[in-house]
Symmetry: C2
Subunit: 314 residues, 2 copies
């Protein structure tokens, strides 16, 4: 049997046919069109899936289930997608609509959560007792996998790791709260902090990389500057590592998973980030002589969305 | 079948014979003697348990297991009690020693964790899908129960909720870190904050309740003063509620349990605390229109330790 996974994004939808080991056998993709009714969008996704299944050489009878990773929240009371801001979806019966076209079980979860599942099936935390996945991208997303199963909480509002509070009365977050991890550990946070500080460090190589325009600064430029020993780059990098280490230490002290995996664009800083983070976490954990979570980089990259969505049906 | 639970404290050990519903059938107790070898302490506990089983009218054949809630950490690599500072225990094979006297399965966990289990079996979160228990006492302890089972993490170092960080570079904690929840939401934290502030509020009723001696201030005096509308009392109370609400919101955003229960001495402030806390949490949660964890006061009081320890064998 095979599983179909949809990675639903604001600009495009990736579809994949995946085996039970979490290996992608065939991929398809389509543009996300938010200018047509939701039912039509979902019909187009179904068609894209049917095409991909055919190209993969499977019949529909061999497909066990469909799964979708969405940039939003599923309301477990209704099974509907409650919010999906990037797609303009609100209270959408995704499974019901999808089953009009493909009569299979349909599973849904948050995109960061399915990425966590993918890593737990076929990635860096494969087979782990428990893992927590952090996506360090535009925002900070998260996913929790316990005993091989996605944990989204009782009300489906959990694993919003970016909105754990690490600083009372801290930086204002889009969610309305203050001091959320996301405001310190996302690419956006790095960029905003760099723009704010760059005036004070006129010789910083960050500004050079951004062709002298603070609005062109991205997170990679900041971390690259840090790698080269640039003073502002290092300052921003260490602030980032410090904040993330505190968030991770809270996760260790609270849940104590076997693995904590880092994904998303910011994690491409690789060992430079990982080594600094591990060192800082080691300083902050409470029981210095007992083992605690392995901190690792995610392995699956952009495919994690498809794989994890498909694996919701495992 | 019945279950024996030990609630092991720094000054005394409570023992109980408990049925599978979490009801205590008979209790015993003994003084904790830290002046004798550990093996002798454990032998004395075994004797106290045997006496209590006999008084309850049961034979040893009817006892399914023994469980102990300890103010410390169990190392899952060895099954030994790794640290138990109040008892001066370090790397103690509690189960092995206990089985020399009573040949039954022996389970151990942290005292706050077993209290969480007790509430999940027979208290405020009975039968809940998932619950997190916070003990607001001298320190802040915690316990997590998922699907009816205690969650202590993969390495056994989890549910240290008092050491989740809520303020970067915040107040210095005994654990060596800064900004831990415990430094804001324990009785100790309330007392220290009151002592620091009381000079600036010479007419505060807190000082009056403490007979004019700041060293006699306790947490109840502070919260009682707040209830009466005392300015300093209210200030300290609102700081407490704010910090605890942020910790709870992090737990909601991360784990999203069905129930969050509050126990320990500070929780005796009752509805005064509960109502203020619920109001603050409602302001801080991210998804205002979706349901989230019920926040409740624990129900079992001091018996939770015995009941939860016994229920480890369920």
């Amino acid at each position: 049997m095979v599983y179909v996974g949809f990675d639903v994004g604001g600009t495009g939808v990736q579809v994949g046919v995946v085996n039970e080991k979490g290996e992608i056998l065939c991929k398809g993709n389509m543009v996300t069109r938010t200018d047509i009714p939701v039912a039509d969008q979902i019909q187009a996704m179904a068609q894209c899936a049917l095409d991909t299944i055919e190209r993969a050489g499977f019949s529909l009878d061999e497909v066990k289930s469909l799964g979708a990773g969405i940039p939003g929240v599923v309301d477990p009371r209704t099974g509907h997608i409650a919010f999906c801001p990037n797609l303009g979806w609100h209270d959408v019966d995704f499974a019901g609509e999808m089953r009009k076209h493909i009569d299979k079980p349909v599973f849904m979860d948050n995109d960061a959560t399915v990425a966590a599942l993918a890593e737990n099936v076929a990635g860096v935390s494969a087979g782990a007792h428990s893992s927590v996945f952090l996506t360090l991208g535009t925002g900070v997303g998260g996913g929790i996998v316990l005993g091989g199963k996605v944990w989204s909480g009782f009300h489906g509002v959990g694993s919003e790791i970016g909105h754990m509070v690490i600083e009372l009365d801290g930086k204002t977050c889009n969610c309305g709260n203050r001091g959320c991890l996301e405001r310190y550990c996302s690419a956006t946070a790095i960029i905003l902090a760099a723009r704010e500080m760059v005036d004070k460090y006129p010789t910083s190589s960050i500004l050079e990389k951004a062709e002298g325009d603070p609005m062109k600064i991205n997170a990679k430029m900041v971390f690259d500057a840090a790698k080269e020993g640039d003073q502002l780059g290092l300052l921003l990098f260490h602030d980032f590592v410090k904040a993330l280490a505190h968030g991770i230490v809270s996760i260790i002290h609270f849940l104590d998973p076997e693995v904590i995996a880092l994904g998303g664009g910011v994690s491409r800083a690789g060992d430079f980030l990982l080594n600094a983070l591990r060192e800082k976490v080691a300083q902050l954990v409470m029981y210095k002589t007992l083992p605690y979570a392995r901190i690792e980089l995610a392995k699956l990259g952009p495919d994690a969305g498809i794989i994890g969505a498909a694996m919701l049906g495992l």
